[in-house]
Amino acid sequence: MELSAIKDAFDRVTKKQKLSCSKTQEAIDLIRQEIESVLDTLQSVNNTDHELDYKTVLNELKASLLKIAPLSQMEGTQKELNLALTKYGKLHEKHFNPDISKAYRNVDIDIHTLNQIIANHFYRQGLFEIGDHFMSVVGELESAAIMKSPFLEMYQILEAMQNLNLEPALNWAATNGDKLAQSGSDIVLKLNSMQFVKILQNGSREEALHYARTHLSPFATSHMTDIQKLMGCLLWTGKLDRSPYHALLSASNWDKLAEELKRQFCNLLGQSYNSPLSVTVAAGVQVLPPLLKFMNVMAGKKHEWQSMNQLPVLVELDREFQFHSIFVCPVSKEQATEDNPPMLMSCGHVLCKQSILKMSKNSTKMFKCPYCPFDIDAAQCKQLYF
């Protein structure tokens, strides 16, 4: 979305508005000066014995006001302001089109699943009351408790961490140690390291040493560098803030650890770190503008879009929305689908199933790989799963 164009238009409006305002103020000041001057004249005459022709004075005032011509001065700048405002409005409509119906197709959505996704989002954000209220409104309160309980535990741990209490997190890590190790996570070490640093900072050297030998030694071989640094901290008990290891005391370490815990917690639940709802909305925000643009261009071909298997335009999504690879067959130049999956040939090259069937005359004869001199037997090709 070209927000810079909107910003420029907005800046033009504010500029014109300021100009109009200052011009109006100038005109008002001039009028005030003329009137005050006449009032002064009248006042001074009243204080003397001179007679004054009021009509003449007022006519002179009228003439000088006509000379100033405040209305014509203000009209010009006001016109410019109105023009800029109109342009801004049009640009706004163009970029922030509220009607997105052109860019989506009507799909039968299972309302129950949708409710679950929304409730899941509330619970994983820690908005338990809203989640419960939502589930009761949609009449699915019985499934709410099951969905909510793991996230309740997670937020209790995170809340304790906010209060610099790692006990609940350490208990959770100890309970799930094996699963965490299997998934290649080092959060158990990170939690124990943080606890060790906390003990050290409180100035208890012997307690820190005992803690290290009990909880850090299992990692001494696999994470030797980390352990060396942590053990080096023992030399600076109670004065870590003045040591070469002062970075370990940074408050941001707690935030990072909380994020990591959240990630690993969701991972153990078999869920993604970000809620499906937030991912969908964020991806949708990126995808909608090019789709809307495309649909405006292809306004007359609505039915074609409704029946397409894939998006009609290339949409660039950020890395965080790329969950799996896509494969485009080098022979047919088409993207692989469930019906036409990528197939690994015996030589190690990959083509789509339909291309292989075509080249092997429906698996009746051998064919040459288009990339190397190998003769390929279609029957020996294996389906690839990305």
Partner: protein, 215 residues
């Protein structure tokens, strides 16, 4: 094919020179009894203070080798007051030997106390940080001998520190830090390598001290 003996067999070598080379090696390594026997047999003369210093050096060397670094430090300071003050690296190595000894004796609290008071000040200099972390990591293990830093507990490491200390004392006493024997072997090896490279394909095989000693 080795060097042709005819190229060097007529080169006269003074017996006194050989005696001095052997003697310097024995003195360097504090082989006191051997020195006395050698002098008695060959009639070579050496100043008396050499023997006195050698006795002290021998004790220092053995204390360091046994891991009794505090005793080694004490005797070193008696022999040469400012030697450790001017050599921070050596001071660190000796103190760390004592730390290792405490760790090996499972006196962890004492080791930690010692590390904080004596080794801690070295932590202000980045060059000691890495070494310090290695030593401190030993405390994380219930059996430091099985740790990845086990080499710090080895005789080889103590030998290395003891050698460094011995060389430092010798230098302080205005004696060569390296024996004439070592230097001659090093130089001979380099010369033979250079000759070998210059001679190209007609060169004798690369010089091997082991093979030379066998021949």
């Amino acid at each position: 094919m080795d060097l042709d003996p005819r190229q060097y067999e007529n080169l006269a070598v003074n017996d006194n020179d050989i005696h001095n080379i052997v003697l310097s090696y024995l003195i360097h390594n504090c082989y006191k009894e051997s020195v006395e026997s050698f002098i008695a047999c060959t009639g070579a003369t050496q100043p008396a203070d050499y023997l006195e210093d050698m006795d002290k050096r021998k004790r220092i060397f053995h204390f360091a080798l046994e891991g009794n670094a505090l005793k080694a430090i004490e005797l070193t300071e008696q022999l040469a007051k400012d030697i450790l003050e001017n050599n921070k690296d050596l001071q660190f190595d000796l103190l760390s030997l004592h730390f290792v000894e405490l760790v090996c004796s499972r006196k962890c609290t004492e080791a930690l106390e010692f590390a904080q008071t004596k080794l801690g000040p070295f932590g202000k200099e980045p060059k000691y940080m890495e070494k310090l972390e290695d030593f401190m990591a030993l405390l994380a293990y219930k059996e430091p001998e099985k740790s990845p830093m086990f080499h710090l507990l080895s005789l080889e490491y103590r030998q290395q520190v003891a050698d460094s200390l011995n060389r430092a004392i010798l230098a302080h006493l205005n004696l060569p830090s390296y024996t004439a024997m070592e230097r001659l072997i090093q130089q001979a090896t380099v010369v033979r390598q250079c000759l070998s490279q210059e001679a190209g394909k007609d060169a004798p095989p690369p010089f091997s001290l082991k093979d030379f000693l066998r021949s």
